[in-house]
Homo-oligomer: 366 residues x 2
């Protein structure tokens, strides 16, 4: 409702679209920022993709769509579908690779709708000259991740492009799953007063990938947090039926961008507590060195849960009982705010606005 105090970087309060001017479709060109998951990506999706492909499912605005299915008993739930392109560079990084990332990323998008992921498709676009041994390593890792998660890759396609027209391997995956009846999770459902929970320390995936980039090689022991979160989601939903309103994995654009997306979708604001947001010391050190803010660095094995505040202790306990969320914490709460600001109480007692990612902080991070 009110402009936040103490915010020299406050964006134009009149315009709560994360971007100011419309896309210049006539003369504009794609830049790396359009793929970074921040403001530019949101604008491209809204003004070009949604405008042309418009339908009620796409308009749901979550990381996947919830769909009616003829022949499917509505009392049993709904079908969901989510898709993900993976262009991470380098393809192999500490804690994962393109193959496992593609499986985890899409399973997580399906799970964030409250669904049990069931099947994956995988489309490979491979550059001529790519070593078969490396391709096997990627596909083997994909198979292992799919088996570990119990979500098989049931169909696929393979295309090859000339040398210099691709970059090793790109993988696009689509996942389908079923949301049980009675479960309703969406970025549109955050309400003032709700608790904002985070499953663990942020920034590890982005830093792990960056640490492998040739031009930025530095010594760090950081491993990607890439993981399939569907069993964590199932545990959380079982612990507090009906209490969880929003689930989302803070990938591209990091925690800051994810929370801004949710604030915008739900038409609310949030206040975060900086001290409650965990960052591993080695991630913090690497970010310092690279001039990155961990709030904007991608994660591939973390989730944000927004829930009824009365149920927050139960939800937190269920998270902490799961091996992938031992350090779960409440990091803030939702508040009424027509301006949809995500604010943060800093460690030093001040307040600042945590805005959308506006640049391309980490291109090709997933």
């Amino acid at each position: 409702m009110s402009a936040p105090p103490d915010t020299p970087d406050t964006p134009d309060n009149a315009a709560r679209k994360p971007y100011q001017r419309p896309l210049d479709i006539k003369r504009g060109r794609i830049d790396m920022g359009h793929g970074a998951g921040g403001k530019a990506a949101a604008q491209l999706i809204e003004e070009l993709f949604l405008a042309e492909l418009d339908n009620p499912y796409l308009r749901q605005g979550d990381d996947g769509a919830s769909l009616p299915l003829p022949g499917f008993d509505p009392a049993a739930g709904r079908l969901v579908m989510a898709c993900d392109g993976h262009v991470v560079s380098p393809i192999f990084f500490p804690g994962g690779d393109l193959g496992s990332l593609a499986v985890h990323g899409t399973i997580n998008d399906v799970a964030m709708l409250g669904a049990q992921p069931l099947y994956l498709s995988a489309c490979f676009i491979i550059e001529e000259g790519y070593p078969l041994a490396d391709l096997q390593r990627i596909v083997r890792s994909m198979g292992a991740a799919a088996r570990a998660a119990g979500v098989p890759v049931v169909c696929g396609d393979t295309k090859v492009v000339e040398r210099g027209k691709g970059d090793g391997v790109f993988i696009s995956t689509t996942g389908v799953g079923v949301v049980p009846a009675g479960v309703s999770i969406s970025g549109r459902q955050a309400r003032p007063g709700d608790a904002v929970l985070l499953s663990g320390p942020i920034g590890a995936h982005g830093v792990a990938v960056l640490s492998q980039r040739e031009s930025l090689a530095f010594a760090t022991s950081v491993q990607s947090d890439s993981a399939a979160l569907h069993t964590l989601v199932a545990a959380v939903l079982a612990a507090a039926p009906g209490a969880v309103r929003v689930l989302r994995d803070p990938t591209r654009g990091g925690l800051a961008t994810t929370l801004n997306e949710i604030a915008r979708q739900s038409g609310v604001g949030m206040v975060l507590d900086e001290a409650a947001i965990a960052v591993l010391p080695e991630v913090d050190a690497a970010c310092e060195l690279l001039g990155l803010d961990p709030l904007y660095v991608a994660n591939e094995g973390k989730l944000v849960a927004i829930c009824d505040p009365a149920a927050a202790p139960v939800v937190l306990a269920a998270m902490r009982a799961h091996p992938l969320a031992r350090e779960a914490a409440q990091i803030g709460s939702v508040q009424a705010d027509a301006q949809q600001f995500v604010q943060m109480r800093t460690r030093f007692g001040g307040r600042r606005v945590v805005d959308w990612l506006s640049g391309e902080q980490l291109p090709r991070i997933c």
Copy 2:
């Protein structure tokens, strides 16, 4: 059973795998042939992808998978899922573009399982610097094709890669649909005696795309046949319930490769009648000029139906009553053949083996 007469190009009869030596995974590299849909692609899929991702759904070996779904009434049918990568070059060609092709290709893969296509996902991998106006043209065409077919794009993703690491735009699409109970269509089901039907003249898509390639520009009026075939499939299945055993769209690798795939999957041979396989005169002329065999040129709006011979007249009549299959014809029949040869009676009264595509005849045709 017997080696075909009059076949100087007969492959090794002892080995009916379409390839002789195993992949050299240790030292081998991807070449354009691995993406062309012929022998090399089949080997890559079998020895690398299937070996690593192995599961019963992927092993079905069709262009998509038929899947059980908890909560879905088996009496209502089964869920199917198919996916397709699209890297066609150039992106705009006579009769279509990357956007419409991505919709048609995936709808067709779903329809070839006998299913009603319901939803599509679409993942875009875009090269930095690509004009927004061209991207809008692609997405607009995709939206129009999806609306015309009644199959919406319900979820998507957008990734951007650096200039020189992609080639304009690549689109990967996944489709889901429902196969009605009682319908069972698969490449595994061709039986000796079955009729082999083709919905119309072949080769138009490949020639239309090739005609636009800079280095091979030549004057031709050929338009791609790119079209969504799901209403044709529905009409055929309704006309002769239970009679159709195999449906497939002869895309990459053309009619010849598609029939060899089916022969291999079903463990049968086929005898085709060259005179019955229609080729438009302008497609024929362009193929002559380019040294291409239309049997190996991709189609994006044709289907092969293999059915009970007693029902062939009814199936053919249903096809010809549909605007996309006015020139449907029986082009041959299935026969017992442990060697799984696809043979052709030539116009001159001889016989020859129609083998798998072995090179890369037309790279990036879809």
